[in-house]
């Protein structure tokens, strides 16, 4: 399947500070984009805008050429976004959490597949206990198991390497490469430059002089 997410002229201002202005980018099937920049440069904000979660002060998003109104479903149906918080409820087991995420996309799935996904990420043991008893890294792995299960082609991942040990990080790099090679797309906000086996373009935020400083 071919798709394209385009952003045009995005402006972002937070607490009176201009983070970026007139930002444009395009992500299509088979693309991998690394968004880098120092803390507070607007990486997370940009990802939230691309997910349609945060309305930009100016500019627009287009999915496959169609301009999206705020939070449009055409984009969300093809999107897997992972933010700073893993989205794993403490009182539910990893299996239940994964089942809910599948159901939100209208998929029933089955426990065998979910268990396999968890085992894939080294969590076979903890699959049936409430996630509150797992460590931060393990909860992060539960969230990453969604990558194994999902059918969404576009992944927006905000600092996915946080709290992961070396093995899990390697596995994630492997999965990201495989997803891009299979015709998916990944946008990644990270300090860590992942070792991918596919071509990766880069977008550096907060390094170029800010437009309003130039204008005065």
């Amino acid at each position: 399947m071919s798709f394209r997410l385009e952003a045009r002229g995005l402006d972002c201002e937070r607490d009176g500070q201009r983070l970026f202005a007139g930002l444009g980018l395009s992500v299509a099937d088979g693309d991998c984009l690394l968004v880098s920049g120092p803390n507070g440069s607007g990486k997370s904000t940009l990802l939230r805008m691309l997910a349609g979660q945060l309305p930009p002060q100016a500019g627009e998003l287009a999915w496959c050429g169609r301009v999206l109104r705020h939070g449009a479903r055409a984009l969300r149906a093809n999107l897997l976004y992972m933010g700073h918080a893993p989205g794993v409820a403490a009182s539910l087991t990893p299996l239940e959490t994964l089942a809910w995420y599948q159901a939100l996309r209208g998929e029933r799935g089955d426990d065998d597949a979910r268990l396999a996904a968890l085992e894939d990420w080294g969590l076979g043991e903890g699959a049936g206990i409430p996630a509150g008893q797992l460590s931060a890294g393990q909860r992060r792995r539960v969230a990453l198991a969604r990558l194994t299960l999902t059918s969404a082609p576009l992944w927006l991942l905000d600092e996915p390497f946080t709290a992961l040990d070396r093995d899990a990080a390697n596995l994630l790099e492997e999965r990201l490469s495989a997803h891009v090679r299979a015709g998916g797309a990944v946008v990644l906000a990270s300090h860590h430059v992942p070792a991918l086996t596919v071509a990766m373009s880069r977008l550096a935020l907060g390094e170029s002089p800010r437009p309003d400083e130039v204008a005065v």
């Binding site: 945060l54 093809n78 009182s91």
Partner: protein, 232 residues
Amino acid sequence: MGAGDADTGLATAWAATLGRELRRAGRRRGETLAPLTFFALVIALFPLGLTVQPERLAGLAPGLLWVTALLATLLSLEALFRDDHADGSLEQMLLAPQPLAALVLAKVLAHWLVGGLPLALLAPLLGVLLALPAGSYLPLAVSLALGSASLSLIGAIGAALTVGLARGGLLLSVLVLPLFVPVLIFGAGAAQAALVGGAFGAHLALLGALLALALLLAPWAIAAALRIAING
């Protein structure tokens, strides 16, 4: 692509969300039962603070039961979206390719099933403590069942608006208590009317009308509020 995207799966997603909420409530029994305990405890305090004369207590009982049930509901509202917001599940729910108003309705329904409905069932028992005559048990329970559903819906708007705020709890009560007034008036009115042997049908009909209106409008408001609050 296109039409095939946004179509199916709402029933699956809705049922799964309702099931998830009920399961979560069942796992955190302490938190789920706290409003009921509060309800029973406060009702037990009134005779100690007011009077133990049965006829005077009975006269006050509908109002006391209703106001306390309303406060118990208010207490439980703060937790409605709090944990989901903290652990990131709420963010994911907002990104689901389903109408958010429908998913939110599943959450509110669960809130009522484990909160308002048990309150309504418990109220006649506590009515005994307040010397409420047996004839008004049924109208009391029905008015609380109908009314607490409206309270859950209206209160969820406030809970959504304050979900990301540090001291949201206090603000939540300022936001929603004024909006609770009509429900309180019709609900306590029904129980009061039943107590004095009057017709309470009109009160219940009005409560039902309020609930219908809340069902129609509140889910959209809750969804819009969540989309605002998620960006804190």
